[in-house]
Symmetry: C2
Subunit: 432 residues, 2 copies
Amino acid sequence: MNIVKPQTIAGVMELLPEDQLAFDYIKNIIEETFLSYQFLPIDTPAIEKNDILFAKGGGETEKQIFGIDSSKKDMSLRFDLTVPLARYVSEHFSDLNFPFKRYQIAKVYRGERNQKGRYKEFYQCDIDIIGNNSLSIHNDALLPKVIYEIFQKLDFNGIKFHINNRKLLNGFFESLEISDKEEVLRTIDKKAKIGEENTKELLVEICGEEKADKLMELINNKRENKELLTYLESLNLNDNYKIGLNELKEVYDYMIKFGIDDDSIMIDLSITRGLDYYTSTVYETFLDGYESIGSVCSGGRYENLAGNFSKQNLPGVGLSIGLTRLFYQFQQLGLVEKYKTKFTDCLVIPMDEKLNFYAIDIANKLKEQGLKVDIYLEDGKFKKKINYADKIGVKKVLIIGQEEYENKMVSVKNMEDGKQVSVKVEEIREYL
Amino acid sequence: MNIVKPQTIAGVMELLPEDQLAFDYIKNIIEETFLSYQFLPIDTPAIEKNDILFAKGGGETEKQIFGIDSSKKDMSLRFDLTVPLARYVSEHFSDLNFPFKRYQIAKVYRGERNQKGRYKEFYQCDIDIIGNNSLSIHNDALLPKVIYEIFQKLDFNGIKFHINNRKLLNGFFESLEISDKEEVLRTIDKKAKIGEENTKELLVEICGEEKADKLMELINNKRENKELLTYLESLNLNDNYKIGLNELKEVYDYMIKFGIDDDSIMIDLSITRGLDYYTSTVYETFLDGYESIGSVCSGGRYENLAGNFSKQNLPGVGLSIGLTRLFYQFQQLGLVEKYKTKFTDCLVIPMDEKLNFYAIDIANKLKEQGLKVDIYLEDGKFKKKINYADKIGVKKVLIIGQEEYENKMVSVKNMEDGKQVSVKVEEIREYL
């Protein structure tokens, strides 16, 4: 037979079972936390109509959309979970209750260039809250609380939410009579990448030395949160600025109230989320000690989710964890080990086929007692059987020979020190 | 803004949140049961290289493959989870332990014609056990046990595994000196669809009246399992037949030993699984009282999983639940209701924004006690708030007014009878 070389397409993450278990452990923590905050699950198709995916038009992602080679060429693979959400909420509008809190953990597809840590297929874990016409600002404080809990469960105590407000920034730009606000926003967004000096230089080019100085002073203003809010209040600028500041203050107050440590919040006026469609609150999230991996969870508030699909005004706020990339980074940092859970408590090995039924009885009994028990029924020499136990990394092996069977016993072998003891069937549990 | 009509592509299942929760409930039962039998999870990319997907060549599925519109036209969406498994095991052969028990619950894609209950995107829940060179027949009995447990958890007590063995059938055909065994197999496979008489007629055409009679007698032989096995043994035909019969007997004995009720097993010589690549054990599974929906879980044993990708000889056995189609059938039968779990235990409603903090304190406290508690912080009149509670179907609402706040109380409203009682904060739990 002609042998085809077995390999995945480039730029996808495919894990071996042990790592897959760790990946699923993290994914399940995220999912169960989303659920515990009453976010509803949705599961949209990976393939959407092109007029849905291209409704917005333009942008980088459009070039990365994977088309489906159908005769009608009218569908493609989703590149994020936001467009499908917009389509979903618009399509099912009258069947949903608002505010609609949904989560979706699913794979998205982008024709990225091949590059380490960049994937053509990757999991996004999205939570969004969508309002019908209006949505209270308190929701912007709830989302970080959910994420906070996830990273606590994942054993990160130090996490920092960098929060900002686009209205405040725009108000500030207006007060400086800056004409190209978008350009300034985009430049500030680059700061973490290009550094302090280059940012300043670019800002000078856009709006001159004096305004650039004021902008740099604002975005570099790193004080204790309450102090910073007091300072910002003292500036007393235009309406847009004041509305933004009030929102920022309220989000901060409610984050504390929801139970996020003040140490885990940083009002950071340099966070802008680039040209994304956010209009008010914006967030980025960093893990203490691992700031170099960048933001692990980002998002913000948008004025209208689904202007392309519906006449309804649907304001919302969302946060997203890029799980595949995050897992890759955990792998690089050697952090995956701690998410590897014990998959099998013990392996039952009958020495001879005649003993299979007795071995199955014992395995059934232990399973009923809630143990994760596996049984090895393949033919072969003892060495092969014990090798298997060794390879799968199980700590305890129950060996069943003729003698054990006759005496209603089993031999419990500790794979770590090689020691073996004979145990009565009723007492096995204590030895595991 | 130009409004694009929000709709999914045709032929995909997209559920509203309430049904999605029921779907996920079923999916989770399947997943946790797979795990409890030490099946390892794998998660392969939805997109595979074309030379992988088309390696086998020919067949109906090939026409249904969704190509990806990339410049190189060399990748497509997977149409099942078996080809990806074959590629996975071949690619990662040296890193896996055999027998390799894996499960995968994922969406697959087929360009099906639009038709009710047929989907272009659907979940498959696959379990397979793959051996390296050999694989004991006992594994064929373990798989039905896993499925048995799943449907018990899903509240079906009556389930019936129809089992058969292809070697036995082929041996029987050989004993009748039938030349076109495949044609006979295919015809028998149609029986459930085309009926007794038509099957007989087709068989007569293929091999004449006398042989057709003998074939019909065999496949219609419905006796109590042990009696049937004794009868089949008495025929004492060729080697192929005897090997198949021994395998069938062993699978049956071990199914009983693993804890499947004899009532739930039916040795059914009319089950062939058509032209699928099975070579020994074949199964179909029916739910008592719902036989009309057809087999809910099918599969069998194959001689070599990955002949196209590897020189290793990899025998295996697998079973698969087509979850999306099954859920559709549950919907048609009105069976979904019982999988709708309680999503929210109670909803906290502050009457006024000033009471938000007090309401959050109460919600936090109840959440710590393990309750599924939601809080409604949107502005609006009381009627709007209580309407929301009504719509999401929550049974208990905690209303927080100024009076409640001052007396450290809450009002617990029972949404079913409309009754309302004042309760001390410490005693809320008892009223939920």
